[in-house]
Amino acid sequence: MLTIEDLQVKIGDQVILSHIDLELKPGETHVLFGPNGSGKTSLLMTIMGYPGYKVTHGKIAFKGQDITHTPIHERAGLGIGMAYQRPPSIAGLKTRQMVQICAQAKGGRKVDPEVLAREVKFERFLDRDINVGFSGGEIKRSELLQLMAQDADLMMFDEPESGVDLENITLVGETIAKLLQRGAPRAKKSENEPTVKERLINRTKMGLIISHTGFILDYLTVDKAQVLYNGVLSCKNNPGEILKCIGEFGYEECVKCLM
């Protein structure tokens, strides 16, 4: 479980998030909407533990542990992972090595980078330096690949579908659904496979997805949608309803009407 209570965050002297309350139960996935510059990425970076995002009020707890001031790598060790909107590139570090690093995040997990990469059509990038010269869409798949290796319990996705072409959007959508144990229900192939209901009960992964378009919702259901507006989490509602409202009236009106 992730619990955020009355959080205020500053970059330098500027308040960029305030009065943020958020609760994400095991198995839940939320989607986060909000206009450019409203603080969505900042919220994720704060949860991840980036020291540039100073928590000046409130607290963050994960799996019952106060992590408000826990360093980034310890949060990764606890099972928090993030697919970035704009990750840095690291010259000389191969994508293959990065996948192995991710696999160690929670302790010695064994992965085969080739096998994982195949799932996001990324085999031929394994021997390239991580993110160096990757296109926008390639970055998204690289980030997903890393999360696949990491096997985090809380996965945060920062605009996973933006800049992804029509062919790959399905791939991205289905990969996220799978990571969050939300793959579309399909007919049982064998006796041992869990039923849809069992799957629902056994679902433990938590997801927080930032989206502008909501396209991602074509591939997975989410439990809740929230709108971040001017650094404040303004409403919680059914994602379809919110999207429709934003589309028709714009963020400003939408936030007012649903508050």
Binding site: M48, Y50, H73, Y84, P88, G92, L93, I101, C102, Q150
Partner: protein
């Protein structure tokens, strides 16, 4: 030979263009004899270990031949493969008349007082030659080893790749663990003939108070390839070198890679110069410099003389814990239609790169060393995997000292 000596005489006092001036009178140029080894495994264990660090395997596993010089004496010189010749250079000069056509033809003996001293008090050096069309796929290993404290080691090396041949050389320079003070003066001349390929990987493991002045010049003929790798990760007091290569035949290629670490008290002035004289020649100089308190001057100089040549220079420096990195990239285009570029950057590790890796589970220290490792791991196309592994190993050995 007379000519070489008399030309050297003139330059006895001639200061070098670059690098601190070294007082040669402080070193002993006297010969030190050591017995020739019938078997490399007779070597004392501590020497063996130092040589291993410099890439020389006493068991000669995966090696096509070996040359070892300790102080002034050749300990071992042997080719294990057909099509490959290895001689101590003095022996070659005595027995093989044609060697005169190569000796001293690229590195002018009057270049500076170091080349002069090397020629005037020459101890030895190697001649390594791949015969025409010979494909020597396993590397030749060579080691120039300094054991006697206060000694000046002088060598003159010649590497010849005859037409259509392929040769890989890994050469290590090292000192015994007890050596405190010494000087190494080395001349090396490279001849890469038509369609021949040479990879030359030099790993330096000097000592804290060593002064080192290598002088090397290469010529690459039509369609030839010269890969020159240089790794210096260990402390050295003063090192200055500016190897030069002439791409003389159409389609010739030269690529220089260097990885340098500047320790506190070390002064490294290392460059590479490639002159693209012929049509369709290609050159690339890539250097990575890291300092944790030392001073590194990283030079690079490309001269394009014909339209249609392509040359690129990349100088990257990382300051970890104090020290100075001075990148001096130079390009000179002398014809319309040359394509030349350079990229130079000196900085520290970006915090966001460290944090990115932290979010994948690495601690700050682990993240930092991962980034440094990446920084130094340059892809060297055409270099056999095993040699690349040697380079990575030499780099990894110094990782702890870097952090």
């Amino acid at each position: 030979m007379l000519d070489v000596r008399s030309r050297a005489e003139q330059a006895r006092e001639k200061k070098a263009a670059l690098g601190a001036d070294i007082d040669l009178s402080k070193y002993s140029f006297a010969e030190v004899s050591h017995p020739y080894l019938q078997d490399l495994r007779q070597m004392p264990p501590e020497d063996r270990e130092q040589m291993l660090n410099a890439g020389v395997d006493a068991n000669e596993v995966d090696r096509s031949g070996t040359f070892i010089q300790k102080d002034s004496a050749v300990l071992y010189s042997k080719s294990r493969q057909e099509g490959l010749e290895i001689y101590p250079v003095k022996e070659a000069l005595e027995k093989l008349p044609w060697v005169e056509d190569y000796y001293g033809k690229l590195v002018a003996p009057e270049t500076d007082k170091y080349t002069a001293a090397a020629e005037l008090s020459l101890q030895n050096g190697y001649l390594i030659r791949a015969l025409p069309e010979a494909s020597v796929s396993m590397p030749v290993q060579s080691c120039l080893y300094l054991d006697r404290d206060g000694m000046a080691q002088t060598v003159h090396n010649i590497v010849i790749c005859e037409e259509g041949s392929e040769l890989h050389v890994i050469t290590g320079c090292a000192t015994s663990p007890h050596l405190r003070n010494g000087l190494h003066l080395g001349i090396t001349e490279f001849y890469i003939k038509k369609n021949a390929k040479l990879s030359f990987t030099m790993i330096h493991n000097w000592a804290k108070n060593m002064a080192v002045r290598p002088r090397s010049v290469g010529v690459v003929e039509e369609g030839g390839l010269f890969l020159n790798n240089y790794i210096c990760m260990k402390p050295v007091k003063s090192l200055q070198m500016y190897p030069t290569t002439y791409l003389r035949g159409p389609g010739a290629t030269a690529r220089f890679y260097s990885i340098l670490l500047g320790h506190p008290g070390s002064e490294l002035d290392v460059g590479g110069r490639i002159i693209l004289e012929a049509d369709k020649t290609r050159a690339e100089i890539i250097s990575r410099a890291i300092t944790n308190g030392g001073t590194i001057v990283a030079r690079g100089d490309l001269v394009g003389e014909k339209a249609g040549i392509k040359a690129h220079l990349e100088c990257k420096g990382l300051i970890l814990k104090g020290g100075v990195i001075h990148a001096i990239p130079e390009l000179k285009g002398k014809a319309e239609g040359v394509e030349m570029s350079h990229e130079a950057a000196v900085g520290k590790i970006a915090a966001e790169e460290i944090q990115y890796l932290q979010s994948r589970g690495l601690s700050e220290e682990e993240a930092t060393s991962t980034i440094v490792r990446g920084f130094m791991s340059v892809d060297i196309p055409g270099l056999p995997k095993k040699l690349k592994a040697k380079i990575d190993q030499a780099v990894a050995q110094s990782e702890k000292e870097m952090m």
